[in-house]
């Protein structure tokens, strides 16, 4: 392959001149009839960082991704990707982005390799280059063994990885992943996290949407929480968790007479006093980010005080908790999954 001409001028924009954030969104609005999917969204994503867009079903996450990937025209506001305007320079934006949508957009009848080679050809890579790139991505996403099987024989996790690989064929500078782990079982989810983490370590700017606080926590440098088309909070995962008081150690004391002793025993775990629910015989202590070490400490203290407990658990704050503390209402008016539970499937990471 002869090296392609390197040019900085893309659709009238000199990309070399752009030193601002990889993504700039200002006052973005979009309605579908009466449904205001985006009501003035602002955010920025510095180059080489990961933004987690956290929100329940129907919050407007997909709409935002679709606007940023030129699939949807916004009603108002501005969106720039590497300085290129998504409305006025869509082709320039398309040249530097990758998208993996909410469902795996793969051709199931074709093999993993064929899927990737076709995408390469559609990016106008010469045949040999498309082949090399496909092999490279299959290797990297642990799909080499299955590469020549029709994609419909792949597990859900493998299909998602193939879909992600497809979005990376042209080495996009900015990558958009819309709920990359929704529908995966816990193991595949963690496998996907590893893949994504590995990816961003190479300097790609990533915008990822999710309904799970723990996922945003795992992957994102910065998180914005959106609800009904508005950004209602932003910050690091730690900041969000602090906002809701962090992790909570919870347990039940079957013997009502010992409830106060138990509260006393675990009081040292936190600055905040343990909350005691006398009716349920339950005690809850906010332990900040201390997590499992707080559990061990709690067990030791209670044991030392000779208190028998039932069902001692560590509860990590979920999207629901964040919502409760930010808006006073739960994340859901109805149909979405509780944010701390994940859909199950029979899928496994191969």
């Amino acid at each position: 392959m002869s090296p392609p001409t390197i040019t900085d001028t893309v659709a009238g924009v000199t990309s070399a001149a752009w030193n601002g954030p990889a993504i700039v969104v200002e006052g973005l609005t979009k309605s579908f009839g009466d449904v205001h999917a985006l009501r003035g969204v602002d955010f920025e994503v510095p180059r080489g960082t990961v933004l987690g867009v956290l929100g329940p079903n129907g919050a407007g996450k997909t709409t935002a991704v679709r606007v940023l990937t030129t699939l949807l025209q916004p009603d108002g506001g501005k969106a720039l990707v590497e300085g290129r305007d998504v409305v006025h320079q869509p082709d320039a934006v398309r040249a530097i982005i990758g998208l993996a949508g909410q469902s795996a957009a793969i051709q199931e009848e074709l093999t993993g390799r064929e899927n990737l080679e076709i995408i390469g050809r559609l990016y106008h890579l010469p045949k040999a280059a498309a082949r090399t790139r496909a092999a490279e991505l299959l290797e990297r996403f642990n799909l080499t063994d299955a590469a020549d099987r029709p994609a419909k024989t792949f597990s859900g996790g493998m299909q998602r990885r193939l879909d992600l690989a497809s979005s990376l064929v042209a080495r996009p500078a900015v990558l958009f992943l819309d709920e990359p782990t929704t529908g995966l079982d816990p193991r595949s989810r963690i496998g996907m996290w590893e893949v994504i983490r590995d990816l961003v370590s190479t300097g790609t700017t990533l915008l990822l949407t999710t309904q799970y606080l723990d996922e945003a926590d795992e992957l994102a440098d910065q998180i914005i929480v959106i609800d009904h088309g508005r950004v209602i909070a932003g910050g690091t995962a730690e900041e969000l968790k602090d906002m809701v008081g962090g992790d909570v150690v919870e347990f039940i004391v079957p013997d009502d007479d010992r409830l106060d002793d138990a509260a006393q025993a675990v009081a040292g775990l936190s600055d905040a006093a343990p909350s005691v629910d006398r009716g349920a015989g339950q005690i809850a202590v906010r332990v900040g980010g201390k997590g499992s070490s707080a559990v061990i400490q709690a067990v030791r203290q209670l044991d030392a005080a000779g208190i028998v407990t039932d069902g001692l658990t560590l509860r990590r704050p979920s999207l629901d908790d964040v919502f409760l503390s930010l808006t006073g209402h739960s994340a859901e008016d109805g149909d979405a999954l509780p944010a701390n539970r994940h859909p199950r499937s029979t899928d496994h990471v191969a």
Binding site: P4, T7, T70, I118, A129, P150, T205
Partner: protein
């Protein structure tokens, strides 16, 4: 620059270097649009080779129609055509099969929309026409296979071209062209409806009256008067009469330009609408 090195992965802005992306000039744009379309044509054909039902819909079903009409209904249908009903039937059934092949187009495009495959394409620097043009090119190959097999089966059951080789080829080509134009309409519907099941069940229901209330299987004079008015003036009859004239001999000029106009018109209008539907968010 070697594509196999991962060094460029570390450079976040490597994408347009890799692609040498710059706004393509007119010529380049056209070449890319064609290249994209051909890539997708190859993809569509590769997909068909992997789907066992493909051969059923493309070949087995049309052949069964030929046999049914030739041997089951044929005896009851009177026509005044040299060579009898089988000669009348074959041009009609070739056109009808070509038109029904458009189910494949509509369903495939609706599925690609539904699964987000087209969203990915739309997020790539690709020609907007590529998905449709690529599929129509693949459909042309598929239609040609159907039409040629049907002509051969027709020969086995008594059909004869009575008008020489070139008109015979022109007749088959006209059948393919009819199929392609209907594929444009079906493609538009598939891209608009975006739901495989609705498209397959109701999206193409109009194909039944369009092909059956025509001169495909019976002479229009045998229909009630009010139906004749429709049957005589709709494009399928016009094209089929032309195909029949090409196959069996007869006055070519009566419908020649009309057929061409209809086919070009339908292809242009619905091709345009389909590309618009593809762009619609």
């Amino acid at each position: 620059m070697s594509l196999s090195t991962t060094a460029s992965e570390r450079r976040p802005s490597a994408a347009h270097e890799l692609l040498g992306y710059h706004p393509p000039g007119g010529n380049q744009r056209l070449r890319w649009a064609l290249a994209d379309a051909l890539t997708l044509t190859r993809r569509d054909m590769l997909v068909w080779l992997r789907v066992p039902s493909f051969i059923v819909f493309t070949i087995v079903q049309p052949v069964m129609f030929v046999l049914l009409f030739r041997y089951v209904f044929g005896g009851a249908i009177k026509v005044d055509v040299k060579g009898g009903y089988v000669n009348f039937l074959m041009p009609g059934i070739i056109g009808q099969s070509a038109a029904f092949a458009s189910f494949g187009t509509a369903i495939a495009l609706a599925r690609e929309m539904q699964k987000g495959i087209i969203d990915r394409f739309r997020s790539m620097p690709m020609a907007r026409s590529a998905v449709l043009v690529g599929r129509l090119l693949a459909d042309t190959v598929r239609l040609t296979a159907t039409v040629v097999v049907l002509a051969a089966v027709g020969y086995a059951v008594g059909f004869r071209f009575e008008n020489g080789v070139l008109p015979a080829i022109a007749m088959l080509a006209l059948g393919v062209a009819l199929g392609v134009s209907i594929c444009c309409v079906a493609g538009w519907i598939g891209l608009l409806v975006r739901d495989e099941e609705s498209v397959g069940s109701v999206g193409l229901i109009w194909l039944f009256p369009l092909t059956f209330v025509s001169s495909a299987f019976v002479q229009v004079q045998s229909m009630p008067g009010w139906l004749q008015a429709f049957a005589n003036n709709q494009p399928v009859t016009i094209v089929m009469d032309e195909m029949r004239a090409l196959a069996l001999g007869g006055p070519l000029v009566t419908h020649g330009w009309e057929s061409a106009l209809w086919l070009v018109g339908i292809t242009a209008v619905f091709g345009y609408l389909a590309v618009k539907a593809y762009r619609r968010p």
